[in-house]
């Protein structure tokens, strides 16, 4: 049980319920936000260890959220994994360029998705060194 805190930003309530259960079962604590404005507020308040971000959000685009998160001192190095229904052909590169560590199209494979989360959380320690810990 790592106890890392994960923030899920997604406006789809059923997804929040389903994914939260999965993450909790894997030992993470979970907080949620359902629109672009509250997302940043929740992120500032909770200072999560990792963010799972949808791209299509009420009150703003996921890319906007990503940009704002990158502007916050506390969250500048927090890994963001994009989980979106959008076409990766158009959005994956853009998301990675904007600072996301991974892009998953919905629905993701549980195993691959959790592996990416674990990797991203491990990476935060030596992110700039490019070395495996």
């Amino acid at each position: 049980m790592s106890g890392h805190k994960i923030l899920i930003i997604d406006d789809d309530q059923p997804l929040l319920v389903g994914l939260t259960a999965r993450l909790k079962a894997n030992g993470y604590s979970v907080v949620c936000a359902t629109d672009a404005v509250s997302a940043v507020a929740v992120a500032r308040r909770e200072v999560p260890d990792l963010v799972i971000l949808d791209l299509g959000l009420p009150a703003g685009d996921g890319f906007l959220v990503l940009e704002r998160l990158r502007g916050l001192t506390d969250l500048v190095a927090t890994p963001v994994i994009v989980l979106s229904a959008r076409d990766p052909a158009d959005n994956k590169k853009r998301a990675l360029d904007a600072g996301a560590v991974a892009f998953f199209q919905k629905p993701p494979d549980n195993h691959e998705f959790l592996t990416a989360i674990r990797q991203a959380l491990g990476e935060t320690i030596a992110l700039s060194t490019f070395l495996k810990t």
């Binding site: 789809d12 059923p14 997804l15 319920v17 389903g18 994914l19 259960a21 999965r22 079962a25 299509g56 229904a85 959008r86 076409d87 052909a89 199209q105 919905k106 629905p107 993701p108 549980n110 700039s128 060194t129 490019f130 070395l131 495996k132 810990t133």
Partner: protein
């Protein structure tokens, strides 16, 4: 031309005319115009009774035996003094058949007549007895009538023939005879008087005398009708130009379409009807050039009317030739198709708009479907994995089935999106150096679950040691999964799916992969349509099917994007085999601009190996693509090639560069790599280890051999390098 039949039946050969015999321009009155005569006129022209008297005179005057044949060499009638010819021919060729008097060899029937008509000159045949016979062609314009055959011709007349008397006897004027003869070949009067040219000239002059008037009136009539036709055409611009592009004639249609009156434009260059941009880009000249080389040119584009307004024209240019002689000019047919063009533009816009709407609709649908699908996926897997408590075996079975269907739905949604990309030409492939063995293994691991359900075994006959392919691994995986899943779908329980591969025998640059099943097979008429969009073959026996029927359509598109092709062979009841080809990875092709003859000869082709090592620990795999981009920035793509990942090993942190560098160039690349890497990795946790080998090739070998040699050596060096590194670990 001499057709010699001296040694018997098959010893015939054409010899150059060595003696002054009938030579060229045999019966051509006017070779620039071709007319067709009605059958009656033709029969008149070949009426033997009309010819009989003149032939007799002709033979007597020239002191030869004479007969008339049609174009096939068939005798049309006998002259009393022609007898010696037939007698002689009969003696020369005992197998000679009536009706084909000039066939003195069995192998070349009537060659002399055919040859005479083809060349337009007299053709001389020497028979076994050493006697010479001549076939004189009779043609009016391009119309072949037949030939006059003269037997027992002299090489050279022992005494000059008096031209006037000869002419008078045949009924033509001396001047006419002389003109015809001169037109055939520039001969002196003295030569003509003693040579066989006279035979041709006389026959020709006679033809002209008797039939010239008929022919001319016929020509005039045809020309007149043609002129009326051309002038009367109002919907097409018809005009002619000289070889430089200056207008020489202009019909009413041209005047209506382009606004210039005939008097205004004749003599002007046709570039005045082109737009200024076209004139600047030398389009008029280019079109004439094309017409000159190909004989014709076709074009569609904007043209200018006299009032400078544009219209969209469809243009045909035909080159006018004079026989095989110089270009006389060009004929142009032009049609105003502005309306058609407008409609085409509107239709194309509508098509694009429809495609765009369809894409945005399908992309929206696919997006909207994915959201609930994701929730279902999470809830199903959560319960199935026991996150909410224990699950009974029966519940597990149902949930597993639900999950299966979620995956199917997900694939269908992906297909929907792919199809819109195919239709808007957005589907992309990113070819890489890929191992076919690994691609098949990957696909099998995905398809295994589906196969297990029906107890279908998956067999791979893909042998290690095959060459690598140049393909997008994700896309090839998609194609293979499509084909394998398809096979599973149409194969009854306990069947087998086999994937095999072979190099194409006819083209070693392609690898052919095949997926065979033991299913129901595809009927011949359905084989044609399986690759069509939304094709799913219905058959009574098989009812359990799923999918949108887009898999093969998308696969076909993906294969063709790789430059390969896909097809199916099948026998109803015995299963189907789908084949597709992928280009084989070729170092020689990738490095073609490095492996040039000068580079190879100068010995400047260099293989540079860059091992990126971590000062502590190991290099993380995730940054390999980044590293690759850094190295790409260090080379000059015009001179050097950064090879694709050459190993399937997980830690592929060795990069290879093939360059045309020599030692100094190598130092430049090495220092640039060091510098760029420090910028990229400012903590200095990474360090490049760079080595190089300059490849000298054996001189004296051909370019292809040198390329093969250098390719093989690079491959060996790369393998040795990777193996060496492996053993160090």
């Amino acid at each position: 031309m001499i057709l010699e039949a001296s040694g018997g039946v098959d010893a015939s050969e054409y010899l150059p005319l060595s003696v002054p015999m009938p030579s060229c321009g045999g019966g051509v009155i006017d070779d620039s115009d071709s007319i067709e005569l009605p059958p009656k006129s033709l029969a008149d022209l070949l009426d033997f009774d009309a010819w009989g008297e003149i032939l007799t005179t002709y033979g007597r005057t020239m002191r030869v035996a004479v007969a008339l044949t049609d174009v096939h060499g068939h005798l049309l009638g006998k002259c009393h003094n022609a007898q010696p010819v037939w007698k002689l021919l009969h003696d020369a060729a005992p197998g000679w058949a009536i009706g084909c008097p000039f066939c003195i060899t069995t192998h070349l029937p009537c060659t002399a007549v055919a040859k005479a008509l083809e060349t337009g000159g007299g053709v001389m045949v020497r028979d076994q007895a050493g006697l010479i016979h001549v076939a004189v062609p009779l043609s009016l314009g391009k119309l072949h009538l037949g030939a006059i055959i003269a037997g027992q011709v002299f090489d050279r007349y022992p005494e000059p023939l008096p031209l006037r008397r000869v002419a008078n006897e045949v009924g033509v004027s001396e001047q006419q005879l002389w003109d015809v003869a001169r037109k055939q070949r520039p001969v002196s009067r003295a030569t003509l008087q003693t040579s066989g040219d006279l035979l041709c000239a006389l026959g020709q002059a006679f033809l002209q005398q008797r039939y010239g008037a008929i022919l001319e009136s016929r020509l005039a009539e045809t020309n007149g009708r043609f002129r009326l036709l051309v002038e009367g055409v109002r919907d097409y611009a018809l005009f002619t130009m000289d070889p430089t592009g200056c207008v020489t004639s202009w019909n009413v249609g041209a005047e209506r379409m382009l606004g210039y009156a005939e008097a205004e434009i004749v003599g002007r260059n046709f570039s005045c009807i082109f737009t200024p941009e076209d004139v600047q880009n030398r389009i008029p000249e280019k079109q004439l050039d094309k017409a000159l080389h190909a004989g014709r040119a076709e074009d569609e584009g904007w043209r200018l009317r006299e009032n400078r307004r544009q219209f969209w024209a469809h243009v045909n240019i035909t080159t006018l030739l004079e026989g095989s002689g110089p270009v006389r000019g060009f004929a142009i047919i032009m049609q105003d198709v502005t309306e058609r063009r407008k409609i085409a533009i509107v239709l194309e816009e509508a098509r694009q708009e429809r495609a765009r709407l369809q894409e945005s609709f399908l992309s929206h649908v696919s997006h909207e479907l994915r959201t609930p699908l994701t929730a279902i996926y999470f809830f199903t897997t959560n319960v199935l994995d026991g996150l909410l408590g224990d699950v009974t075996p029966e519940q597990r079975e149902h949930l597993a089935s639900a999950l299966d269907n979620v995956k199917q739905l997900k694939d269908m949604v992906s297909d929907l999106l792919d199809i819109t990309r195919v239709e808007t030409h957005k589907i992309t492939v990113e070819p890489r150096h890929a191992s076919p063995v690994k691609l098949v293994a990957d696909a099998f691991s995905t398809c295994r679950t589906n196969a297990t359900v029906k107890n279908i075994s998956l067999r791979s006959g893909v042998a290690p040691g095959l060459p690598f392919v140049w393909a997008d691994p994700a896309r090839v995986r998609q194609i293979l999964i499509n084909l394998i899943d398809n096979g599973i779908k149409f194969t009854p329980d306990n069947g087998t799916i086999t994937v095999e591969s072979r190099l194409l025998a006819e083209d070693g640059a392609f690898l052919c992969l095949s997926v065979s099943d033991t299913g129901c097979g595809i009927s011949p008429e359905n084989r044609e349509i399986v690759f069509d969009r939304l094709a799913q073959v219905r058959s009574g026996a098989e009812t359990s099917r799923s999918g949108l029927g887009l898999g093969l359509f998308i696969s076909k598109e993906l294969v063709s994007r790789h430059g390969g092709r896909i097809w199916v062979e099948s026998q109803l009841g015995h299963g189907s085999t789908f084949y597709f080809t992928l280009p084989v990875f070729s170092l020689a092709k990738l490095c073609a601009h490095v492996f040039t003859a000068p580079n190879l000869q100068a010995g400047s082709v260099t293989l540079i190996a860059v091992d990126v090592v971590a000062v502590e620990g190991t290099v993380q795999e995730d940054i390999l693509p980044e590293l690759r981009r850094v190295l790409e920035g260090c080379i000059n793509p015009d001179q050097d090639v950064l090879l694709p990942s050459m190993s399937d090993a997980e830690s592929a942190e060795t990069f290879f560069i093939v360059g045309c560098t020599g030692f100094s160039g190598f130092e430049v690349i090495a220092s640039r790599i060091g510098l760029e890497l420090r910028t990229f990795d400012n903590d200095s946790k990474l360090k490049p280890v760079i080595s190089s080998t300059t490849l000298l090739v054996e001189p004296g070998k051909s370019g292809e051999e040198q390329i093969a040699e250098v390719t093989a050596r690079i491959e060996r060096l790369v393998q040795a390098h990777l193996l060496g590194k492996e053993s160090l670990k």
